[in-house]
Amino acid sequence: MTFTAPHVDYAGLSPVIALTAGICLVLVGAVLSGPSRQRAVVSIISLAALAAAAGLCIWQWGTREDLVAGALRLDELGLAGALIAILSAALVIPLSWRDPAAERPGEEARHGEFQALLLSSVLGMTLLAQAQNLVAFFVSLELLSVPLYVLCGSALRRASSLESGLKYLIVGSLGSATLLYGLALIYGGSGSTDFGGIRDGIGSGLADDPLVLMGIALAGTGLAFKISIAPFHQWTPDVYQGAPTPVTAFMAVATKAAAFCVFVRFFEVALGPAVDNWQPALAVLAAVSIAVGNIGALGQDSLKRLLGYSGIAQAGYMLVGLVAASELGINALVFYLAAYALMNLAAFAVIVVRERETTWGDDIKAVQGMGRDRPELAWPLTISMLALAGLPATAGFMGKLYLIEAAVDADYTWLGVAIAIGTMISLAYYLRVVAAVWMRPSAEPRAPEPAGVPAMAGGSPETDEDQTPEERPETARDRDPAPAAPAPKGTRCLAILVPAVLTAGATVFFGVIPTPLVDWASHAGGALASFLP
């Protein structure tokens, strides 16, 4: 038995290494720094690690090679996913500073743990986006998910946080198991765990084999679950709403990016020979998602929940890029992922600020009257909503344009129409938010909770859309026993405000001058060009 160490291209792996080192340093730093300085120390380390990883990704931009015996693939697609994940993590860190998930009132701060988990998830995403081996794929998916399960539940004082964590864990593990079984079947059919090997295996007459196709179905289910495609979407609104808002922001953006990258790589590369079989199925899923997400979001009062449903719809849009199974489609998908990240982060940043400034939490009432009181917050949220709705002069419009172009090009014009119809429906709820911001007066502070409401009273199962959260007794448990007094407005949120304004600005910038982002995205598509029909 001989052991030959595999060739390791450290340059190619450098972003991963930077992140890994960052995780360890964060944990160590958290232990060593005193409680008063923990936040600063840990954040600096995390941001430095993220900056380093991002820098290394950019440094490696343009390289296309297999890493470590083909387990990973270094190319622009993977790097793009990694960059989006890193960017969102970097923006989420300031959001988390005063969040109960990391700073529970009356307890020792947990910035170290929080940020270590965050970085681990980013690491998982980076690996996932680059994975081209079933085992690496699965393990990095778990590396992505497990920290998120923890983070979702980390606001221990809120029942809804724990609920979201456990729900996410149960359904997520179910999804993972489904995916895993699918991977097993695909492995069984093709006899390889490498994407290239699978491609060759399936290509040699197995593209119509029931075993492989069932594997595709199972794996597709698992992946669709991760990116919140209906009908595997149901965890999304609940988890988004229950999780601490910074975690939601991260989850909404980064998970989707990384999972889409691997979705693309797995389906276009490994399962490419079976494209004719999975294409229609995914097309239908995309359409269903668009419908379900947009319709579900109508009338939601919780902004996070609304964005959760919106995320389902947006995933549906993006899936169209995958369905197109063309370079154009992947370009469009990557473009949209980046745009989606920008738009969502801006929105979540604003929600985080308003959660602290008002007594309304993430309810839509929290943003009412903001246009008058806090224009610097109102504009990012407005731009974000308009961009998500796909209105012109925003990156969202360009993204939809790109996606529809890909759909039409792939003879899936009806999917383009589905995107259009979905967008129409979506306007109703995105604009509702903007209307609240600009056209409604500020909401009165929430009335104090009537005492003695039994925790488990349970409202009527029918949810009336006009019902405000204060009328739903269950939410009584959502709030910390002693809610922190609303923070004074102003500079204390600067660390959040600046990212919000920057991402919103970028959303508009790339809506007007999209070429840099288009070029960037087209590299990603080019990376897989040789595998595409």
Partner: protein
């Protein structure tokens, strides 16, 4: 440079956030006047008699997506650009005299809207057109939703969703056009010139045309898809409504001429009758509704439906006369309907009501206002001698030669227009004056806005040929695209071949 024209409004709008609060209205008004000046220069530099584009800009924008930044004017758009600049100057100034509370955002949104409207008229790239077409809605949504009256949020949201129903389908259709044509063009291109040179197969044209038609008809709006209009008109602030009705509705009709006819000639010929039916129905329905309403805004609103119906049938007569008339009528209607809404604003300030039942007798103490309104009213009803008459005359004579029956039916609309327009004038200006009305003459500032607008109506009445001669080459070119594109036995479904045969000759 035509670029200045396009981008100055939004630049001024952005500047509104910077300058001191008190200077905002003046800045916005000055900006809109400069834009107007630039638009006049554009018209002055326009060379008559050429069907092609002038004052063009052609830059690369998003090469990967085949989108170019292409601007230009021809005889069709140059006057619509001027109309846009004129009405915006009027509405901006009018608003500046009664400054809204959140003025920065108000004037910013006005500027953004102007840029979008101008962009739609200037764009020579299909996608750029769609982009501006959609963009336009956003500022209007804001303006109505933030500064409007009762029920404004629901109304404005209904408007934007309804309108975008068409627009988004149009986006798909536009993309499909470029993608499907890319085989022939050789590369992905949204350039109208490229797409026109390589029209699609008939089957593709049909559904794409339907999507475009849906967008345009909703925007105008045509009857049955005008569901957004009553609420939005009731809620909108009046200067904004003047623009909404005066300019935005034209974009739909303009789109037919700019996009649908040249790009989808076979489909246009195929759906000619269907659109004509819708157009004639709009004329009749809008007119009937206009004379039963008592809300002044709705009278003007439904009359817009009727007027836009005329414009539609003019275009879809597929005759150069009809198209010329449609272009002229677009400008006319904009010139007419905007002052109506500004006058309604003045009525509201005097009477506190916009209901005909509570208005009346204003003419006695406000003869100048009454006279201005009278001129506008007469133009609205297309009094012979007004440019509106020439517009309708051209439209109907075009249609008359193409499809005589539709022309005859549409003639009823002319009579109804006389009734509802005169009724509007009488019931506001004449008859007894209710006690509560404070009958005042128009103020000098408002007069400074209204008199130039009315002056334009009069000037155009004296020489409508100004527009007709310039629009004719371009409009005829669009129509010829259809007539050349469709097979010689052009309308196979035409029920009366004996009547259409003589129409074929031009």
């Amino acid at each position: 440079m035509i670029q200045i024209l396009l981008w100055l409004p939004v630049a001024v709008g952005l500047l509104c956030f910077v300058v001191p609060r008190r200077a905002v209205p003046a800045l916005a008004s000055a900006g809109s006047l400069v834009v107007l000046g630039r638009a006049i220069v554009s018209v002055a530099e326009f060379h008559t008699g050429q069907p092609g584009l002038q004052q063009t800009v052609n830059e690369s924008w998003i090469p990967d997506l085949g989108v170019r930044y292409q601007l230009g004017v021809d005889g069709i758009s140059v006057f619509l650009v001027l109309l846009t600049a004129l009405l915006w100057a009027g509405a901006t100034a009018f608003s500046a005299f009664r400054v809204p509370e959140r003025r920065r955002i108000y004037f910013f949104m006005l500027g953004l809207a102007e840029t979008a409207a101008l962009g739609a008229f200037l764009a020579q790239d299909l996608l750029l057109f769609v982009l501006f077409f959609d963009l336009m809605l956003v500022p209007f949504w804001f303006l109505i939703g933030t500064f409007g009256g009762e029920n404004r949020i629901a109304a404005t949201t209904k408007m934007i969703v309804y309108t975008l129903v068409g627009s988004l389908l149009m986006l798909v259709a536009a993309i499909a056009t470029a993608v499907l044509a890319s085989d022939q063009v050789g590369h992905l291109s949204f350039s109208l010139a490229d797409l026109r040179a390589h029209t699609l197969s008939t089957g593709s044209q049909y559904w794409i045309f339907c999507f475009f038609a849906a967008a345009f008809l909703i925007k105008m709006p045509a009857v049955l898809v005008h569901g957004w209009l009553p609420d939005a008109y009731r809620a909108a602030p009046l200067p904004v409504l003047a623009l909404l009705s005066g300019v935005l509705s034209k974009v739909g009709a303009y789109g037919f001429l700019r996009v649908a006819l040249p790009l989808y000639p076979q489909a246009t010929a195929h759906f000619q009758e269907a659109i004509l039916v819708i157009g004639v129905a709009s004329v009749l329905y809008g007119s009937v509704m206009a004379f039963t309403q008592t809300d002044v805004r709705l009278i003007a609103g439904y009359s817009s439906i009727a007027q836009l119906g005329f414009i539609t049938i003019g275009i879809f007569s597929l005759r150069p006369e009809g198209a010329d008339g449609a272009v002229l009528q677009m400008v006319n209607h904009g010139l007419v309907v905007a002052p109506v809404f500004l006058i309604v604003a003045l009525l509201w300030e005097r009477a506190g009501s916009e209901d005909l039942g509570r208005l009346g007798g204003l003419a006695m103490r406000a003869p100048v206002l009454a006279t201005l309104f009278l001129v506008v009213t007469l133009a609205t009803l297309a009094m012979p001698g007004s440019a509106n008459f020439i517009g309708e005359f051209y439209i109907l004579i075009g249609l008359f030669q193409a499809k005589i029956v539709y022309a005859l039916v549409a003639g009823i609309g002319v009579v109804l227009a006389a009734y509802y327009a005169i009724r509007l004038f009488q019931r506001t200006m004449h008859n007894r004056k209710p006690e509560v009305i404070d009958s005042r003459e128009i103020g000098p500032l408002d007069a400074a806005v209204l008199i130039p607008l009315v002056g334009c109506i009069v000037a155009l009445a004296l020489y409508p040929g100004l527009i007709l001669t310039r629009a004719d080459p371009a409009a005829a070119d669009k129509v010829d695209a259809v007539n050349a594109g469709s097979p010689p036995s052009a309308p196979p479904a035409a029920p009366a071949p004996s009547l259409t045969s003589s129409a074929a000759a031009r």
